[in-house]
């Protein structure tokens, strides 16, 4: 028995995203609503690429001030000390604790940046209709989605520090404007990952096979 690789769209069928009921669309252009749960039916998520692009670009813009502006300003005996994320990494590295520096560097700089690059790569390949590595790209997408929820760690630590270290007037810590942008980067990339429809990765392959078949 030969395995037939057939997508729902190729078969002219739709799966409801809410209750997974397989339906025939009312019309190819306007699929209508799910007869069972009433959810709106769509071949693919609406404006998935456009949405994702918009959010990725917004996150990329926010990524710059998140790294340039200080995330934490420590006031010790009247002298104010403002630290950026990279400043913290450099401080940790120069003070000898390079493993910590590495962790901060990976968690706070490389992962957000990696997410942005990964999403941009997925979007570009989908738009160009690339065929190769669909499986790897899907895995990449899964990773982006998985890692997204852990990225708020920085913001979490920042908030905790600010709340705990309040020994006024000897020493107190205030959040810097950078942390807001950092949070925005994390939130925007998470939403971007959500709004991306991974089925698009496979559509070009399916279209191509369909053409040949």
């Amino acid at each position: 028995m030969t395995v037939i690789a057939l997508t729902g769209a190729q078969a002219g069928l739709l799966s409801c995203e809410t209750c997974a009921l397989l339906t025939r669309p009312a019309d190819a252009a306007e699929p209508g609503y799910c007869p069972r749960c009433g959810g709106e039916l769509a071949w693919r998520r609406h404006h998935s690429i456009q949405y994702t692009w918009a959010l990725v670009i917004a996150a990329a813009i926010c990524f710059i001030p998140a790294n340039v502006l200080p995330v934490l300003s420590t006031t010790t005996l009247g002298s104010v000390d403002s630290d950026t994320i990279m400043g913290g990494v450099v401080f940790l590295y120069t003070s000898g604790s390079w493993p910590l520096a590495l962790i901060v560097l990976i968690a706070s700089v490389m992962i957000p940046l990696g997410k942005l690059v990964a999403l941009a790569y997925l979007l570009i390949t989908v738009q160009r209709g690339s065929l190769g590595g669909s499986r790897e790209r899907t895995r990449l997408y899964r990773m982006v989605k998985f890692i997204g929820r852990w990225s708020m760690l920085d913001v979490f630590v920042d908030t905790f520090t600010v709340a705990l270290v309040q020994l006024q007037p000897l020493m107190f810590v205030e959040p810097g404007p950078g942390v807001v942008f950092f949070a925005a980067v994390v939130v925007l990339t998470m939403i971007a990952a959500e709004s991306f429809d991974p089925r698009l990765i496979w559509d070009s392959l399916a279209n191509r096979e369909g053409l040949h078949g």
Partner: protein, 557 residues
């Protein structure tokens, strides 16, 4: 023509599915993010001030990102980098200055490192113990912007804009002065020493001082400055006088200035005028002598107690001083005598004249010829002579006095010599000696032997007289005493008789158990009893008046 073709042969219009080209509302998010980011960037760039470089000799306590630049205790910038200069001899400190203070970065602005400083005259910069050192800043007056500065080693004491003026003092040595040493004007603190340096020739100290504003106008070209450190004690006719400026000046040193009364008050001195720093007030306030006349005196008496600098007086007023004391020997005759060289300052004497006479006096001493003529006349006609006098009996200090001795022989002064010789008279100290010698001589002439003989005779007479007196007394003893004795014995018998009488009387009348007393006591008791019965009777009669008539009735039970 319209019916010539089949309708079906015509091409059919194609239906292109309407594509959704509408731009989604989601693009607002990146636009918003971009707007915010650009806004912040613009704000940053707009608020960005200049970055300046300050060169210090050492970066004491300066740290990148932690050290601030402060002006009037307000942060105007922050140090961003501290590194060695390219030749490794200095430290280059890079600081980012706030935009608000950007126009203060002019070429004569001053920077220095503020650190805790404890001196005798005060403690400063204590705040830096907690907050760390910072860079102090002082505005300049220039309009020319600059970005590279050289930091000062020490904080300027006088902050810009403080009214007042700077002057330069030249001193022999620094003494106990230092930066911040106070300057007093009539014991009010009027300024401070702001810097000192060795003069280029290495022989003097140049002090830069700052005299604050209302006092700076009292500094005029004739003002004298002196070192007011320590105590200046002097003993005069008015008692002991101790002069000091203040406790701080006593410990930490200080300066004082004043304008001598003889200086005509001129315009205030311009800034950076150079003055000489005198060692003490007396020297500072001394009038500068423009005219001086040198004379030599030859004396045939002891010069012990006469020292260089001893005063020369005219009628007791200061007229000059002794410049040299030594010997003079005539090689031919080997005559050795004392040589005293003096200098006189005619102006000092003219200054003591009253205003009207002063002009005349000044005319008299203006040229050398006039002075010579005046001196000649004084010596010849008025008998002006020099004399050594004792200034202090205890210490034996001598001074040279010019005085008038009209009875002295006339002398001419030889003006052709380098240093003209003035005639002298012997000191009054030798006069005294002569007088004492005279007295001693007279004492010598007294007839001590004759006096002795007379004295012996007188004593013999006295002895005779005493003997006579003794005899007279003996006679009295022999003739008068026996009669006196019998009389006294009679008197004693009389007295003892009187004594016996008195004693018996005493026993009868006043002794404790004398009979008279006993009787008296009994009598009195009788009287008391009688009185009592009388009282009983009267009581009874009062109650029973009828008893007078009826007699005493029986008492009813």
């Amino acid at each position: 023509m319209a019916e010539n073709f089949d309708r079906d042969d015509l091409p059919q219009a194609t239906v292109v599915p309407k594509r959704r080209t509408r731009i989604s509302i989601v693009w607002i998010i990146p636009i918003l993010a971009a707007v915010v980011a650009i806004g912040i960037a613009i704000q940053r760039i707009m608020s960005e001030g200049p970055t300046i470089t300050i060169i210090f000799k050492a970066a004491e306590g300066l740290e990148a990102g932690k050290t601030f630049v402060k002006y009037k205790d307000v942060n105007i910038g922050q140090v961003t980098a501290v590194k060695l200069s390219s030749d490794h001899s200095k430290v280059e400190v890079t600081a980012k200055i706030d935009k608000s203070a950007a126009d203060l970065m002019v070429e004569d602005a001053k920077f220095w490192v503020v650190q805790p400083r404890v001196t005798l005259s005060g403690v400063s910069g204590l705040g830096t113990l907690l907050s760390g050192n910072y860079i102090g800043f002082e505005v300049g007056k220039s309009d020319k912007q600059q970005r590279k500065f050289t930091g000062l080693e020490v904080a300027p004491i006088i902050t810009g804009g403080q009214p007042g003026r700077q002057f330069v003092l030249k001193a022999e040595n620094l003494g106990s002065l230092g930066i911040g040493s106070p300057i007093y004007y009539r014991r009010l603190q009027a300024g401070q020493v702001i810097a000192y340096d060795l003069a280029a020739d290495g022989k003097r100290i140049e002090l830069k001082i700052f005299v604050e504003a209302p006092y700076d106008k009292y500094v005029n070209p004739g003002t004298r400055f002196w070192n007011a450190s320590g105590v200046d004690a002097s003993i005069g006719a008015g008692g002991v006088e101790v002069r000091t400026q203040s406790l701080i000046a006593l410990i930490a040193g200080g300066l004082a200035f004043d304008t001598p009364p003889f200086v005509v008050t001129a315009e205030p001195a311009p800034a950076n005028t150079v003055f000489t720093l005198y060692t003490d007030q007396a020297i500072a306030m001394k009038q500068a002598e423009s005219i001086s006349a040198h004379y030599v005196l030859y004396l045939n008496e002891s010069l012990r107690g006469l020292s260089v600098g001893a005063p020369v007086t005219l009628l007791g007023l200061p007229a000059g001083e002794v410049t040299d004391v030594g010997l003079d020997v005539d090689p031919a005759t080997l005559r050795v005598r004392g040589r005293v060289e003096v200098v006189s300052y005619p102006e000092r004497l003219v200054a003591t004249l009253r205003a009207k006479q002063a002009t005349v006096g000044e005319a008299l001493i203006r040229s050398a010829q006039q002075r010579h003529a005046l001196m000649q006349r004084l010596v010849e006609q008025r008998g002006l002579r020099a004399q050594l006098r004792s200034g202090n009996l205890l210490t034996g200090q001598l001074f040279v006095a010019f005085d008038f001795f009209p009875n002295t022989p006339k002398v001419k002064i030889d003006w052709s010599r380098d240093v003209p010789e003035l005639p002298v008279v012997p000191s009054t100290a030798s006069d005294l000696e002569a007088k004492i010698t005279g007295i001693v001589a007279k004492l010598d002439k007294l007839p001590y032997e004759a006096i002795g003989a007379d004295l012996t005779k007188a004593l013999a007479d006295l002895s005779q007289t005493l003997e006579d007196t003794s005899k007279a007394v003996n006679r009295i003893d022999a003739d008068v005493t026996p009669g006196l004795k019998s009389t006294l014995d009679g008197l004693r018998g009389t007295i003892s008789a009187a004594d016996g009488v008195l004693k018996s009387t005493d026993a009868t009348l006043v002794g404790k158990d004398a009979p008279a007393q006993q009787d008296l006591r009994d009598t009195l008791q009788e009287i008391a009893r009688a009185a009592r019965s009388l009282r009983v009777l009267t009581d009874y009669l009062e109650r029973h008046p009828e008893s007078l008539i009826r007699g005493k009735t029986e008492e009813n039970p």
